[in-house]
Structure formats: structure tokens, C-alpha cells
Symmetry: C2
Subunit: 336 residues, 2 copies
């Protein structure tokens, strides 16, 4: 007997129940004419004057749903954002769903709907997909993996190799919202607060920077947070990244939870922010551009690159200095 | 204290241990100049006279290693094969690894080496990747998801819509090897036999068919096996697929295990076979072509399309007929 309110192993076997689940849950909600489930591989139309770029990400966040998002919107936005910070306009996504036997069908449908909405909002098409079902106890309800294809102007390039001594560091909004929202949504903590994940496509924030000469590098600070992006920049350039504690935007409730539980906000994941490195003479222009956009009103100039030995130095509120080490312990596992 | 012989949650946190694992386990063994882990998205070079095609697949096979393959070679070949049967020469892969805390590092390295070897053999590059670590009890050791990009001649098209009444059905080799090899490798069965998975890239079998006029459609029979591919053809065309039991190649040990345990070989997964539909006048040519290739020596003409109501009919050895229904129960979950 099939229990059609929950996913069963038979939904993953390649036969009738799998076909029905794919049609009723995925195809119907994705509602995308670009998705043809009868094809083994899908032809793409790519203009020859652009550079196609590809990226991929897996998502294992717990819980599956949290204030401000869910694993579905996260899987779309997370991959879109890797394209956007690389200067590529997102075009197409592929989707893998590894579903745990027993997941409520209603929950799966909510997540697929949210995923579809995130894709529509960003103007990308889910062009290919695959589902697998693993036995009860072999998965966290649902894991998703997305691969994204985007198009970049052939003339534009950003990269860590373009970062220079004296460049400014900017962030498009407050940090740590995603990490704290997910953490609070876990049952283990009996806290609830007004913190919502910042989960969103950063395309509107990242792509306009293509036109700003002097923008050197962008990255979205996800796992490992701002401090980890700062370390990537410092390691690649052998310059110091100096961050100013008073300039880094952190929402009050995020700061409170961090203080209460001993988290360092600089290591917490964001899912809708951009960190940019820009020449000092265009930093204000970038900041103004961001602040004029709906998701960029909290943008700030937070630091600068300087001669050094590849360290990340936080200038504290009281005028001292603290080294931000490369992350070792995981404050919040399974944040994305 | 880190136990460096097993994967820990800290290997998934975005920080130092994750960076080290990616460098030491993935980058070093993939040994691919196309893989730059410092990029959020990777630019691709695609010739404008070919049609880029994309496909994606997740892999959750248990056990992770089995005679003839492992989840690594399977993840490469499975995705390559979806491209190949679509007429696209595989170029690039992206890789997601969802690793369960506690997986032996030595096992992970063996699998990544095998994956790298499969990719090298097929001439494809792993251009982007992501790793996540889930807590003990939340994964089956390792899940992989791969997305593949291939290039197809612009002039060539195959499709279910080209299949005609009277067309012949062919298979490139014996069926069911993968399903039985994986099943026997599971500890629950105290059987061992000479059955090895057929896990392999079908590129050499599939791509030469591009030049044979009259080849209508190809598919690799994975989950759900030959019967499921036959159903896809029957459903899409509303023709009957008539299969001849005496013509379908099944190895003796596979047949023995099926008889012993009550499996129907027609529903068992292959991972290195191609099913092709061809006009009757080119069927012999396709067969000869396949039989001249190392992986095609067991190729056979196994049936034909005929007027009907979209059924799959097996003509049995003793001259009777049996309907092969669409798969419902899963004989062997987590086969790929």
C-alpha cells in the first residue's frame, strides 16, 4: 500500500510512482516550458558573444524551512549568487533532489513551490533535474544540489589577481542574518526572534558593478561568513585585510543572539549579501549604487587592503586590534 | 581534536579543514588544470557551431563500492551516458559531494581517485565542485550529484517523436549486470558471484550512431531497466514495444540470481548499456557497428515497434506473451 502523503522508496525507483511524483510535484510547480522530463540531456541556446559560466552547490540546511527562506529558495539563490558575483547573468539551473523516505509530501511541495518562485523571480529556468529517494534515517529529509549556467560579458573580468594595496572592502548589507535565523529555527534553541534569513538573489546588486571600472572582485559570504571571504582575499593577495568593527553592519537582534550564545558574527553565513573589493576612488560610487537598491540600503564600506602578511585584522570599537583567524571549529553546521 | 582518518563536521564548515580536504582529496586527485577552486563560477569555452547540452544526476548507491565500480565512477559515467545517448560528446562535469560525518578518509580518497580516472578515460574535465558534510546518521556515507555539459552536432537530432511503426529495438550488451552486482555486494545477501557492474561510459557506443541515418532514439537503461525504457517509448509513441525473450542478452549468473531471488532481469539497472531504436533497414548496420566495439560484443536486436495501444509485450521462450507492466515495486532500491 502506498501512503501518498509521504515520500516512499518507490518514489525513487524509476517506475510509475517516480514518474508521477516528478510530474505532480516538480514539473507542475516549476511550470517551466524549458523543462522536458523526457530528455536525457537538454539543448541550450547560448549567444556566442557572451562567456558561459558554470557553478554548482549542494544544500543540506537544517531545518528545511526557516524564517525568510527554505532549502528550495536557498538552493536557487545560492547558485544564482555564485554566478552573479562572477559577473554572469543567471540563465539555467539543473536540480538534484535527494529525498528521505517519509518526508511529508506537503512539505516537499511547499519547498518545490518556493524553489520555483525563486527561479521565476530571478528569471532562470530549471532545465534538467533528477530525484533519488534514500531510506528513512539516511538523509536529513531533503538534500538539494543545483548547478547554474550564466552568461558574462566577454570584456569583463574580475578576480583576486586584480586586488591591490589600498583597495576598499564593501558589503551590501548586514551580516549574519541567515546563520542566526536558521539557528533560531532549530528546535534545540528555545529562542525566537525577529531575525529572518537574508536569502535572496544578489543579481541586482552584483551585475550593475560590471559597469563600474575599478571594481576588482566580488564574493557572496556564505559558509564561514565575512571572515572567510576576508581570508580568501588575504591569502590570495598576501595583503592584510583590515576590517573596522564599527563599520560592519550587524542587526541588533543578530548581535544580541551572538553575545548571548558566544558566536562571532563575522563567521556567520549570509545568503543574500555581496562583499566587493573596489579601488578607493570608486568605493563611494559602489556604495551609492548599492544604497539606491532595495536590498542594498544597509551597504557599508567596512575596511581596506594594506601591506602585510596576508592577515585579517579587525580594528575594534575601543581602538584595539584583533586577528580574525581562519575558521576551524564550526559554530553552526549545516547552515546551507 | 581532529581525527584525520575520518571526515568530521569541521570538514564542511567553509574554513581551514574544508579547504584542506578539498585541496588534498579532491583537487590533488582530480589533477585537472580546468578545476580552479578559487572561482565562484567557471568560464567555459564552447564552440559556436555545436549545440551545448546539459544533464544532471544524483547518486546514492549502497554500498559505495561494488565489483566493477563505485559511486565515483558511477557518478561520472551515469552523467556522461545521458549526454552520449543524446548525441552529445561530454566536455565538462560539475560535482557535488554530500559526505556523512565519520566516512573513512581512505574510502573517500579511493572513490575520488576512481571518479577522476573515469573522467580522464572519458576525456571530460571536472570544472566546478562543492562539498557538504552532514552529521552521522544523516547520510549513506556519501552522496554525489554530477551535472554534465556536452556538445552535439547542430544537424543531428534524435527523439521519441522520430520513432516509427516497424522500427527495430537494439541493446548494446547483456542487461542487469549492474543491478545484480550491487545487490550481491550488499552484506544482507550472503551470495557472491562473478557478476561485475557494467558501469562504463557509453560514449564509444552512442556517438558513432550519429552518422547512421535511420537511428531514431537512444537511451541508457538505468533505474527501472530495459522494461522502463520500453515503457517510455511505448507511452510516447502509442505503439507497442514487442520484446523477444530469447533475443534479450542476460548473462548466466545474472539469470541464476534472478531465478533464485525472484527478480525480473528486464527491470534491473544497467550502467553501461545503450538501447537504440533504428529503422529496420539500418538495424543490422547498427548491430555490426556495436559488435565491432569492445563494449558491444554482446549487442543484440531484441524487438520491434508495432501498432498497438502503448503496451510492452514480451514474447516468451515457449511462444506465449507476457505484458511487462510499468514498474511499481522497487526490486532493488538505491542502485544508482
Amino acid at each position: 500500500m502506498m501512503d501518498d502523503r509521504h515520500v516512499s522508496l518507490a518514489h525513487g525507483n524509476g517506475g510509475r510512482f517516480m514518474r508521477e511524483m516528478i510530474e505532480e510535484v516538480f514539473v507542475s510547480h516549476l511550470g517551466d516550458s524549458a523543462l522536458d522530463v523526457h530528455l536525457d540531456a537538454v539543448p541550450l541556446t547560448l549567444p556566442s558573444d557572451k562567456v558561459p559560466c558554470i557553478t554548482t552547490d549542494a544544500f543540506t540546511v537544517q531545518p528545511l524551512e526557516f524564517p525568510g527562506g527554505d532549502i528550495g529558495s536557498l538552493a536557487v539563490n545560492g547558485t544564482i549568487n555564485d554566478l552573479a558575483v562572477s559577473g554572469a547573468a543567471p540563465q539555467a539551473l539543473t536540480l538534484n533532489a535527494i529525498i528521505e523516505e517519509g518526508l511529508e509530501m506537503a512539505c516537499l511541495i511547499r519547498i518545490v513551490k518556493s524553489l520555483a518562485e525563486a527561479a521565476r523571480n530571478a528569471g532562470v529556468h530549471v532545465v534538467a533535474g533528477d530525484t533519488k529517494v534514500v531510506p528513512r534515517g539516511h538523509g536529513g529529509g531533503l538534500y538539494l544540489a543545483t548547478t547554474g549556467l550564466g552568461l558574462r560579458d566577454a570584456t569583463w573580468r574580475l578576480g583576486l589577481d586584480r586586488v591591490e594595496d589600498g583597495d576598499a572592502l564593501l558589503v551590501s548589507g548586514p551580516i549574519g542574518d541567515h546563520g542566526i535565523a536558521v539557528m533560531l529555527a532549530r528546535e534545540a534553541f528555545d529562542l525566537s526572534g525577529p531575525v529572518r534569513s537574508d536569502c535572496a538573489a544578489v543579481t541586482p546588486l552584483a551585475l550593475p558593478l560590471a559597469k563600474v571600472d575599478g571594481v576588482r572582485f566580488m564574493r557572496d559570504p556564505t559558509r564561514g561568513g565575512l571572515a572567510t571571504v576576508a581570508h580568501e582575499i588575504a591569502t590570495a593577495t598576501s595583503l592584510n585585510v583590515r576590517l573596522s568593527e564599527t563599520q560592519i553592519p550587524v542587526r541588533d537582534p543578530v548581535r544580541s543572539v551572538c553575545e548571548m550564545l558566544g558566536y562571532d558574527p563575522y563567521y556567520l553565513a549570509c545568503e543574500g549579501r555581496v562583499v566587493a573589493v573596489a579601488a578607493p576612488d570608486v568605493a563611494d560610487e559602489v556604495l551609492k549604487l548599492w544604497q539606491s537598491l532595495p536590498d542594498g540600503d544597509g551597504a557599508a564600506r567596512i575596511g581596506a587592503l594594506s601591506q602585510g602578511a596576508g592577515h585579517v585584522v579587525l580594528e575594534t570599537e575601543i581602538g584595539g586590534e584583533r586577528l580574525l583567524e581562519e575558521l576551524e571549529d564550526d559554530p553552526l553546521p549545516r547552515i546551507c
